[in-house]
């Protein structure tokens, strides 16, 4: 970074960039504070502590945690296979991982309807097992898991490639089994990259709306997440409630973002 003085032309470029960010990002961010709190702190607290709002928040955190745990376990597996294993079709598998990024959330929801809805491909299996998937919690969990699938894989892969196999092999030489080598050697070395991936997964899972909207059936108090609560509140013209919940979600996202920045720095060489 050059500490020199900038020419007027350069200051003009800086001004354009800052102004663009201010109009696009800072303005809307402050507007939500204003929207939630302009009627006072009292109504804000009242709206956010209704049974429906609290249930929605609880469900959001539950689904977020569930999707994060599933994607962490399978994500590390997939990353390990893609970096350390060698077999035909590995490149194809690698390409598959990114697909959820390219799928609209609504389409992700539709996929579940086609598989488990009325006349779905696997409805008979779910029926035989007595589980309701679409318009119930399992479907919402699968939808959330799908949209947040790539993050852990994509953040763990480069770290795993970077640490190499020397230390793992040293562990094997000293008589460790695969599990011990993974738990005591590999996992500690990839932890910051993994935590960064986990925080991205959690942020994405908590904010999911489209996919969950399609598969939820929207029963308030039962299958209503925070984002669905906002959507319904807007429909019911309960603006204070919608803005209050939007602000709470924004605050949760900010907290996760701070964690992300911290983990990203610790993960080191990645940008």
């Amino acid at each position: 970074m050059s500490k020199r003085r900038h020419s007027p032309m350069e200051w003009a470029l800086i001004a354009i960039v800052v102004l663009y960010a201010a109009v696009l990002l800072v303005g809307p961010l402050f507007s939500i504070l204003w929207g939630a709190l302009s009627t006072g702190v009292g109504p804000f607290l009242r709206e956010i502590s209704t049974d429906n709002a609290l249930n929605a928040l609880k469900l959001t955190l539950l689904l977020g945690a569930g999707a994060t745990v599933i994607n962490t376990v399978f994500g590390v597996c997939i990353a390990w296979v893609l970096v350390r294993d060698n077999f035909r079709g590995r490149q194809f598998i690698n390409g598959l991982v990114d697909l959820p990024f390219a799928v609209s959330p609504v389409i992700a929801g539709l996929m579940l309807i086609l598989l488990f809805g009325r006349d779905g491909w696997f409805t008979w299996i779910a029926d035989a097992m007595g589980i309701k998937i679409v318009f119930a919690l399992p479907g919402m969990l699968v939808a959330t898991t799908f949209v947040s699938l790539p993050f852990v894989v994509r953040e763990v892969m480069p770290v795993l490639a970077q640490i190499g196999t020397e230390q793992e092999n040293a562990a094997y030489t000293m008589g460790a089994n695969s599990w011990q080598a993974f738990w005591h050697v590999t996992l500690p070395s990839i932890r910051w990259g993994l935590l960064y991936g986990i925080s991205l997964t959690l942020a994405r899972a908590i904010g999911e709306f489209g996919a969950v909207l399609v598969v939820s059936g929207g029963v308030s108090g039962l299958t209503e997440t925070s984002t669905l609560f906002i959507f319904r509140s807007l429909d019911d013209r309960n603006y204070v409630g919608a803005y209050a919940m939007a602000m709470v979600l924004a605050l949760i996202s900010f907290t996760i973002l701070m964690l992300m920045e911290f983990f990203k720095k610790r993960a080191g060489t990645r940008h």
């Binding site: 800052v18 809307p28 939500i32 092999n169 940008h271």
Partner: protein, 293 residues
Amino acid sequence: MSVRLANPSEAETPANAPSVRPWGRWGVRYVAISYLAVMIVLPLSAIFHHGLRDGITLFWSEIASPIGYAALKLTLVTAVTTTLVNAVMGTLTAYVLVRYDFPARGFLNGLVDVPFAIPTLVTGVMLVVLYGPQGTLGAWLEGHGFQVIFATPGIVLALLLVTYPFVIRTVQPVLMEMRRDQEEAAYTLGASKLVTFYRIVLPAISPAIITGALLTFARAIGEFGSIVIVAGNIPGRTLTAPVYVFGQIESQNVRGASAMSALLLALSFTLMISVDWIQRKRKPTTAAEWEER
């Protein structure tokens, strides 16, 4: 986003390891493959199957219905607009963040990731509060004949906000690791800043700009949460393709929903493959990559 795979060398494995490893290795491999097959391949095939099973004629008739066609057109037009604006502004932002020193640079750099973290539905709510008819700014703009919310500008604004980080975050690392000696040589030879940027910097970062732009476009054609709030969803006017898909699901028209979905998916997948291809073809631009050759 797409990652190039290196081949792990089998030779490094110590003699005692294979006796414990094969089982675990095969197990992990099949867990990973099965998970991706069940979570990604199977659901995606269901979309294409339902979209196309009644023949290509009915597939097209679903897409070409007046409302479906208008929705697709609106999605493409707004996505292209967004991509062009953010390709330019993203490149400029990345350049300014990497090359210039100014107050609040760190703050701005942190701000770039915010759209990745904030739920897109919340983004939509923010825009409605600020630009909606009940907001001060929105009322003022409307008084001057410029409607943002429930109109096309609102859709573009939402897309610009949601896709803000993509180009910046793909161009920034390339700029940071770029060797400066060619630029300095150009200055020494008397080239102006603009000419140097155009002839030296831009060619080096253009694959990154294109990658970021394609990711922006792929994200924009699928965006739902912010648009459903901001657009007003008037069929034929402000109804985008993903919101159209949602409408078709609500009205139980599975074939219509699947047909439009299959088309959108085919478009995004083509883009993802292009991104992958560009990154493979990319000329080395960083010092480390030059040394690798």
